[in-house]
């Protein structure tokens, strides 16, 4: 176990890495626990690692690829000395200072890191349907990453579940490859933004299956279709698709902080109004983990900056040395 770090940042999406850029430039020598590789959005770089063109991040008039943008964030933080470790925090103890953070075995007697301040930016990850055989079909027709897997569905008929911006974005991306994309949505109207709706309605390859929920997966070793039920009259049906992409929303990655940090009913971290400070002095939350409203890369980056500045000020006022 080492001496207490000034700042430990948990998470490495736009919020965490912006906090790392600011705290490293402030010579606070931050440590970033960036997470572990996976094929879900809970991975180093966060949700943008599963996207392609990011068209709304200011400063990139021609757009930029999500993974490339996140590599740039990381390089910029490392340029000023931020230390980035490819590990996941397994337990935290925020009950006394310095705060304790475990990596690896959460039952180890000694924590891996001590921290004077902690910036929580663990983000959110995609929700799955939680239907039988879901895990074994991932990579075999069932996908959590349209940008990774769309390529393999050239001229296939596929479906996307969901009705928000990410569902429509995935559908329009997938229509580059697939012969037909059916959007399965449990209501008869979309939550998605106007521009995304207009794009989807104008896309000749995209069709909508309204008021419908997916109830099961068909096919043995790879997906051959889904069974459905109508949310209006309860009638059942079947849709023959070789690919299914799930985009039904996100849940915050906050299980690590249960019982320690105040949360809203939906599990998102609660911060002081207009601030990143949590209920524990010295612990700050930024990005999607505390934002169930905007959920944009640029707002995450902005709140990461805010958390860095609050942590810096807090250290000035509370650090004895």
């Amino acid at each position: 176990m080492s001496d207490a770090r000034n700042v430990v940042i948990i998470g490495s999406g736009p919020a965490g890495l912006t906090a790392a850029i600011y705290t490293s430039r402030a010579t606070l020598d931050p440590l970033v626990l960036e997470g572990e590789p996976s094929s879900t959005s809970d991975q180093p770089g966060g949700q943008l690692m599963l996207t392609t063109d990011v068209e709304n991040f200011p400063g990139f008039p021609d757009g930029i690829m999500g993974p490339e943008l996140m590599m740039n964030f990381k390089a910029q933080a490392q340029r000023f000395g931020a230390e980035v470790q490819t590990v996941k925090a397994s337990k935290v103890d925020l009950s006394e200072r310095p705060f304790k953070i475990w990596v690896g075995d959460p039952d180890a007697a000694e924590p891996t890191h001590l921290a004077k301040t902690v910036i929580v930016s663990t983000g959110a990850q995609s929700i799955m349907l939680e239907l039988p055989r879901e895990n074994e079909l991932i990579g075999h027709g069932l996908s959590t990453c349209a940008t990774c897997d769309g390529f393999f569905f050239r001229d296939h008929e596929i479906a996307v579940v969901g009705g928000g911006d990410s569902a429509l974005e995935e559908a329009s991306f997938l229509s580059r490859f697939a012969s037909k994309v059916t959007i399965i949505h449990r209501r008869d109207e979309l939550r998605a933004s106007k521009i995304m709706q207009e794009r989807a309605f104008a896309n000749p390859k995209i069709e909508f299956l309204w008021n419908t929920e997916v109830t099961g997966y068909l096919g043995d070793d790879k997906l051959a279709g889904v069974t459905t039920v109508s949310t209006t009259d309860g009638s059942t049906g079947q849709l023959d698709v070789t690919g299914l992409f799930i985009a039904i929303g996100h849940r915050p990655n906050t299980s690590l902080f249960e019982g320690q940090l105040d949360m809203k009913e939906n599990g998102y971290l609660l911060t002081q109004p207009g601030r990143t400070a949590t209920n524990i002095p010295g612990v700050f939350a930024s990005g999607d983990v505390q934002d169930d409203y905007y959920r944009q890369a640029i707002t995450a980056a902005g709140s990461g900056c805010a958390a860095a500045l609050e942590a810096e000020r807090w250290l000035e006022e509370n650090d004895e040395h």
Partner: protein, 109 residues
């Protein structure tokens, strides 16, 4: 910059490499536009350097070698196939931490 111990494959060189005598070959099916693929690239570099003589790491870009990807029914990337004497003995779908990856390969090494 990939490790010099990583072999870059194409549709043309694929069969010869995975069918060669000697150590098993782990082929990483990847693409430039795949974020999770980027995250595991440095892990595969490390494994390639550590396992010289025991396990060969090879990479196949699915954009440049679509035929091989189709032949092995790759439907998601990253997909890693472990070949022994030209036969697939293990299929790993999705990015994983290094320990988990080595754990899945252990019984074949």
């Amino acid at each position: 910059m990939a490790s010099e111990n990583v072999t870059i494959l194409s549709d043309e060189t694929f069969a010869d490499t995975v069918g060669a005598d000697g150590e098993p070959v782990l082929v990483d099916f990847w693409a430039e536009w795949c974020g999770p693929c980027k995250m595991i690239a440095p892990i595969l570099d490390e494994i390639a350097d550590e396992q010289v003589g025991n396990l060969k790491i090879a990479k196949l870009n699915v954009d440049e070698a679509p035929n091989t990807a189709r032949q092995y029914e790759v439907m998601s990337i990253p997909t890693m196939l472990l070949f022994k004497d030209g036969e697939v003995v293990k299929k790993i779908v999705g990015a994983k931490p290094k320990d988990a990856l080595m754990g899945e390969l252990a019984e074949h090494l």
